[in-house]
Amino acid sequence: MGMRWYVIRRLLWTAFATFVILSATWGLLAVTPNQSVDQLQFQVASAGGSAEEAAEAFRAARGLDRPLHERYLDYMTNMLSLNWGWSESRSQRVTTAIAEAIPYTAIYSVPTTILSILLGLSIGLYSATHQYTKTDYAATFVGFFGYAIPNFWFAIVLLLVFGVNLGWVPVVFDADAPLLSGRMARQLILPVFVLVTGTIAGTMRYSRAEALEYVQAEFVKTARAKGASELRVLARHVLRPAAVPLVTILVGDILTIFLAASYLVEVVFGIPGLGQLSFEAIVAQDTALVLGTTLIFTFVAILGNLLQDIAYTVLDPRIDYGDR
């Protein structure tokens, strides 16, 4: 009973947080001067027209002359009904532009997530069971390296070495390649590699630390003593209790790192996904598209947080939800 109530409250809280974030974004946009008005005024004035009238006409056309609460209500309705406006730089609806970009983001983020979790977990577990060996130190080093190296710079260097000098991978991303083809896979090797090295550090170090708590536990020793195989000990007795806190890391923190990293990686490699869409919108001062793409990333993060909390409650029956 406690758990269901907790999940419901968590859902309501997510809705409220989304509402607050949307309102805050609206507030920010409402108080900042609209740059396109200035541009328009300048254009009209240089063409010999009245700048004031043009600005008025522009405001009226955009509905900016209406009272604040009407504009706010309008904005919120549009946001909730997925009517996110018109992208002027791309001459298409914001939602259409986003829908077109999502496959390109998914095509590399799905393999990255799977690889990063699998590799991170297994290396972390190995490190925990072989603590203070050379492999453990090497793994820790790789973890530090992957975390500390700036993704965008690493991507550039790899592109130089493997794309330009060795010619193993194409330098320019070919968006026309079919999504599930060898050609696509070849040009996604480097982005996936860069992202995995960046995100694996967290998974690895967390799983190592979590598993370490259980490697010397009494019940693990008992399992060994009664003759359970090493694999069974690892999977059933170490990984299971360690999985609970791990889930929270995997979903929440990894997601945050991943979102920011993928943004830069897309820009460097020229993958026409959400990150590059957002970046191009910023360069073109296309406010509707900037807002839409930023909010998409934010919603993904909010959803990740929600899933993480729910997973936590489902996985760990010991937690008391009385006062949460």
């Binding site: 974030i21 974004t25 500390a148 330009v164 170090r205």
Partner: protein
């Protein structure tokens, strides 16, 4: 890129493993300095307080063992007043801040704009950011250097702990060099300027095809243009010296690395302690706000704010500072909640100490080591965010930051690899160094945690 450093699953105060094992005062751990002499000759009676940030914890921790400290000697009629809430160090810090503020007012109101505040052979006209930088230097001197210098014994103890990690010592030395060079460099070195005749000069000991630079400044040996000592790290596509650019980039990074933590620590600690101590509605509202801020992914918040307000370095510092403190606030709150229940706090309250006194003298010093460690691990993410935003071209065009130089060299990678490479190396090593130092700090300041435990590395 998140700098979240929570050893447990999350810093949620109820669920993390961290909260289970902190029933006793922290320095009860095996490594705690147990036989430190009672701070005799202190100018003030009462539970030790002057230790402040790092040192204070050890002392206050000792207060927990009732009877050892001369608690009965406290004359609460003198400590109860406003004067006692501020220690002598606080008053010293306040005085220095007042001096900085006066100088700022003088520069702003009296001096005609354009006149440098510091005349002489090295004129120095302070920008808004410079003022913040000076302020954070002053405050870190009072709250980090002074306590460390006054409490030598504890400092030596921490240093012994810290020294065990040789990588961290090397990192600290590296960061010291970056700090010194980055602070002094821009004052001594002229800003890199456009010099089209010196384009694409290779770095020292490297030869490139003479067709790469328009005119080879160095000697041409065996058909290859060699680098010269005039430009040890080479030059960019517009002839700017990369070494100078790197030094200026250090300046940007140490500003981010010093001013942002100042704001983050101030806001985070205030919100955390107030929430923990006030409880009820205040706690609820503050923490729900923290939740919302944490839900918004940092990078996209910064991206959106940069888009809306434009990206100057000053704005970056404010944005990172005022929107990056939520993890600190959570940590502080959960720590302070535990501390509040400790015997020494109850004793102080029972003896009539006021809220401000308890927060200032007992809660803040006791959470300071957590805050310092967490902040050290947060700094690299701010530096990375700045580099990333500059790399995207959304940064401050007037300030040569590392990210900007990396972006500038991107298109010339196949002919002039050195442009992007050197700033990248410095960025990489700086982030790595902060991580090593943060990890070693945690081991040194927190005897409970095992080395390598938790999800350090900020990732």
């Amino acid at each position: 890129m998140s700098g979240d450093d929570t050893p447990g699953p999350r810093s949620d105060d109820t669920s993390g493993p961290r909260s289970d094992d902190t029933s006793g005062p922290r320095s009860d751990g095996p490594a705690g300095p147990t036989e430190e002499p009672v701070p005799g000759g202190s100018d003030r009676p009462g539970p030790a307080t002057d230790g402040g940030t790092v040192a204070g914890r050890g002392r206050d921790g000792r207060d927990g063992r009732a009877g050892r400290e001369t608690f009965e000697d406290v004359d609460w009629s003198t400590v109860g007043g406003g004067r006692a809430v501020l220690s002598r160090r606080d008053r010293g810090a306040l005085a220095s801040v007042a001096v900085v503020a006066a100088a700022f007012a003088y520069d702003l109101l009296v001096l005609p704009s354009g006149t440098p505040l510091v005349p002489g052979p090295l004129p120095w006209d302070l920008s808004q950011l410079d003022w913040l930088f000076v302020l954070s230097l002053v405050l870190s001197a009072w709250y980090v250097v002074v306590p460390l210098a006054r409490n030598r014994r504890l400092t030596r103890h921490y240093w012994r702990q810290f020294r065990k990690n040789r990588l961290a010592v090397a990192s600290l030395a590296y960061l010291g060099v970056v700090f010194a060079v980055g602070t002094a460099g821009p004052i001594l070195l002229a800003k890199p300027e456009l010099a089209l005749t010196k384009q694409y000069q290779p770095p020292l000991f490297v030869g490139v095809d003479p067709s790469v630079p328009i005119r080879c400044v160095g000697p041409v040996v065996e058909g290859a243009c060699r680098g010269t000592l005039a430009h040890p790290l080479g030059t960019t596509s517009d002839g700017k010296d990369i070494l100078v650019l790197v030094v200026y980039g250090m300046n940007v990074s140490i500003r981010i690395g010093l001013i942002v933590p100042l704001i983050v620590i101030t806001v985070g600690t205030t919100v955390g302690t107030v929430a923990a101590y006030a409880g009820g509605m205040v706690d609820e509202v503050l923490m729900r706000y923290v939740d919302v801020q944490q839900t918004f992914p940092a990078f996209f918040l910064f991206l959106l704010l940069t888009y809306i307000f434009g990206g100057s370095l000053f704005l970056f510092v404010l944005i990172f500072g005022f929107f990056g403190w939520e993890s600190i606030a959570r940590l502080v709150r959960s720590e302070a909640l535990q501390r509040r229940e400790e015997q020494y706090v109850r004793a102080a309250v029972g003896a009539g100490a006021g809220t401000a006194y308890v927060i200032r003298r007992h809660l803040v010093p006791n959470v300071s080591s957590t805050v310092i460690t967490a902040t050290t691990l947060l700094i690299p993410s701010f530096i990375l965010f700045e580099a990333a935003l500059s790399f995207l071209g959304l940064g401050d065009p007037t300030v040569p930051s590392w990210g900007q130089v990396i972006a500038a060299g991107r298109s010339d990678l196949d002919t002039a690899w050195w442009i992007s490479t050197f700033p990248g190396f410095f960025l990489f090593f700086t982030i790595l160094a902060f991580n090593f130092v943060g990890d070693a700090l945690r081991d040194a300041l927190d005897p409970r945690s095992e080395g390598g435990g938790g999800g350090g590395g900020g990732a």
